[in-house]
Symmetry: C2
Subunit: 515 residues, 2 copies
């Protein structure tokens, strides 16, 4: 987390070359991560938050959490002062919070292009794409299993998306590559097809180790030891269970000073109580246990307080998104994270809809708005999420990525300097006049109003004569255009060769596995 390491890395990662290339290329800016200049929305009272904190301590102390199939974890907990009974770890009141206190409140995740570095924590919001879908969907091809070809396209779209700060991780599961090898191809794609920050593999501790080693090639070994270059997603098996694979990956990353999101994944009413307060209590207990464990591994390791909670249709058991309860939990969890002084992950363009239609957009917008106002620092699934996360949608990717622009403008707050007050303009125009031609308008209109790059603002007649296209169609056209405009960021050829050799060697060293 050094602030001065930028220069060293620039030479290795080829950032300078990338910038030179960008100047001659089709224009595709990336906006800086969001720094909020607006208040957070504090939904819960201090009283309610204190009750949750008290109850979470009670749960940790009396019920405890399970660290399964991991005698080493249990030994570590014992040494740290917890009471261990079988696989159950009971944590005395106050201990988890004390252990969590060594985690940094904010950290820098470095990208190979230092202009793409992101700060995670405090008043920032970093946007990353959808994570995990086994399927993809587009307008012409419909829904189908995701492949490596799809994965590459999504990374290209992410690189080209102005309001997206992060390349993400498993943007879709490349199901045509063996399970035990696909992390190598995915990481290589993030490294070569984008220069934005990315996530590491968590599906086996050995794959986390591979991720670290590839970063050592890309960034330099010393740089990786001193700086955070990956943020990876460690899910908790709610309720209150930590499995050895995820914990093994966490151990690799924490030891190497790499960031982890410690995140319950909860379908409300199934993996947590049906009430918002009960869910928040369980979330806090789980996150505190997970983050405390990360700090036992390496005090000071960067972590993020994660919360992924959906509500449920109690008639069918189907998960639901963009609902008020999900927003309430997001707001409450954000407050709890801030009270701990930790970066917060939640939100995203979440939806249950099977199509990138009105349902998808209502659900998505509800969640994006809550994420902005609720103080989210790292927003996974910011774009492309469809069908409860089963599907990565090409059209929804660009639709959502476009909407992320509204969050940037909202977060900037409202200027109130003399130019913004515009008293001269109002005097000049006067009652019954028109502002379009006045000097103040001419001087300010370019940055005055956010404008979608996807939506159609034309008059009805023009739009109708042009085929009366809906948003999905317009987004599909934009996907095609962006992929055809895409230009790969330059990289030091030696690093590229070394990365490719590493992947080839690793792949050759093991048989294919598809389960």
């Amino acid at each position: 987390m050094s602030d001065t390491a930028t220069t060293t890395r620039r030479a290795r990662g080829g950032g300078g070359a990338a910038r030179r290339a960008a100047r001659t290329a089709v224009s595709f800016d990336t906006a800086k991560y969001i720094e909020r200049n607006i208040p957070n929305f504090e939904l819960l009272s201090d009283e309610a938050l204190s009750i949750i904190e008290e109850n979470a301590e009670t749960l940790l102390e009396e019920v405890g959490v399970a660290f399964v199939d991991s005698p080493e974890s249990l030994e570590r907990w014992k040494a740290a002062g917890a009471s261990v009974d079988g696989e159950r770890v009971r944590i005395p009141r106050g201990l988890a919070r004390k252990l969590c206190s060594t985690a940094p409140s904010k950290f820098t995740q470095h990208a190979r292009n230092p202009e793409r570095n992101v700060e995670i924590g405090g008043n920032t919001l970093v946007t990353a794409p959808v994570y995990g879908p086994p399927f993809v969907r587009d307008k012409d091809g419909g829904r189908r299993y995701a492949t490596m070809d799809d994965f590459v396209k999504f990374v290209k779209l992410g690189y080209m998306s102005k309001w997206l700060h992060h390349s993400g991780g498993t943007v879709c599961e490349p199901t045509d590559v063996p399970v035990n090898k696909r992390h190598l191809d995915m990481l290589l794609t993030h490294m070569l097809y984008s220069d934005k920050p990315f996530m590491g593999s968590v599906t086996e501790p050995s794959r986390a180790q591979d991720s670290v080693e590839m970063c050592e090639i890309l960034f330099g070994k010393e740089f990786v030891q001193e700086n955070t270059v990956m943020t990876s997603l460690i899910n908790i098996n709610s309720p209150m269970t930590f499995d050895p694979i995820m914990m093994g990956a966490l151990e690799v990353y924490a030891k190497n000073n790499q960031a982890c999101i410690i995140s319950p994944f909860i379908v409300g009413g199934a993996m947590a109580p049906v009430s918002v307060m009960g869910t928040l209590t369980q979330v806090l207990a789980e996150v505190m246990a997970g983050i405390a464990y990360s700090q036992i591994i390496r005090p000071g390791a960067p972590v993020i307080f994660g919360t992924f909670v959906t509500s449920i249709d109690m008639n069918s058991g189907a998960p639901t998104f963009g609902t008020p309860e999900a927003s309430q939990i997001l707001y409450g969890a954000g407050q709890l994270a801030r009270r701990m002084g930790l970066p917060f992950r939640s939100g995203g363009g979440l939806c249950a809809s099977k199509l990138p239609d009105a349902q998808a957009a209502y659900e998505t917008a509800n969640t994006l708005n809550a994420a902005l106002m609720g103080g989210v620092n790292f927003m996974l699934h910011s774009c492309g999420w469809l069908e409860g996360g089963l599907v990565a949608s090409f059209e929804k990717f660009v639709m959502d990525a476009d909407q992320l622009g509204t969050l940037h403008k909202m977060a900037a707050g409202v200027a109130h300097d003399e130019n913004a007050q515009a008293m001269g303009a109002i005097r000049e125009v006067g009652p019954g006049g028109h502002y379009l031609g006045c000097d103040h308008t001419q001087e300010n209109f370019k940055s005055a109003f956010w404008k979608s790059d996807v939506f159609d603002y034309r008059p009805f007649e023009t739009w109708d004569e042009d085929g009366a296209k809906d948003t999905q169609y317009l987004a599909s056209q934009r996907v095609t255009k962006m992929l055809s405009d895409y230009q790969q960021p330059q990289i030091n050829p030696e690093i590229k060769t070394a990365l490719e050799a590493y992947v080839a060697e690793k792949k050759a060293s093991m048989p294919d596995a598809f389960m």
Copy 2:
């Protein structure tokens, strides 16, 4: 605004009969107006708000407002202490605010069914449908001029919509009825096809008078003198111009103690400066002048601080909706209204899209979320708005009306009593367990999670086999179902006859006019 007049009116309006009918009918509840149990989002600092207030006073004093073609208005302003020069009214610093102080901070709008009465002001939010579109659209019929038949259908849908508290006004313009007579048919439809509160006509002072007279038949003459039974929309011709037709209607309503929304209608960059601060300053000056005038007419007349502002695509000049600047203005105007202690109108399901597609839903959800968090008390255009307000969409009406349910649940806040804390459930289930079957879930699941009545939550396979329908299709089915389930609320037959006779007589008294 008496709280005790309910009983009198119940007998006249037929509320008791309506309730008896409802018990035997298809179930269609109406939720009570929203009472927020959550904080408002305070976007602007006190410093910024004070600057706006100072600047607005400066505008009123130095630039002034125009009251055109209305010598009587000018006389009234002179008598109240303003300086009048031609049609320009300059209001000394502090005078407008002082005049506004007699307006109530909250009022009751009565419905003929007292269960449908709404409180407007303070922590409430009342939802009313789209207002004003000359066109309608539905999935099968496309876009076409609105007719009286469409109008009746919308009023029926509004009556059947659980989360909609208000029947609205010109839900669409019935273009097949002469301009000078359609207000009569529209009011009669609200009165006979719904028992929710409604709006009066503002297109001529005489039509406002007709609206009052019809209410006197429906509610009783004395009741109307003592109580507010209509909330009507008085637009200001921004910048800072008040026309004699709207002011004439305002005079009729204020004299009769009926409520008016005093509302700038602003396309940002055209009718106000391109900056948020400048727009808010102009909005405040305009609303203060309008509300001050209402209080000159009748101190204590109920009014609402209105703000309708869209941003603009500066390339094409097209209005845009659901944008960050529109939300910023909404938040700021809400703060200004609360500082004046006045009810606040803004928001709605606003969108620029020509179809009820993803664009429409993103734009709409952005605005609905801002309206809830920004403290809106009266939300016109809550449902059905399409294409910048040119079109009333049947499908979007039920889609938006469904989403209004999320606002109700969000506004209720988060319970933190013992049941909500759910500690017993978490202890019972424990690490690795499952909550679906536990007692706490069984006791609470019915009200735990909000659920859409329009969206599709089925698994992909089921949905796909059933034709892979999008939201517009599902909404269209719901429109058909609601119209076929519709049952007219009962009304005292004598009142019905009297209303019909009034309308027939009025219509016969004048020739048709279509301009």
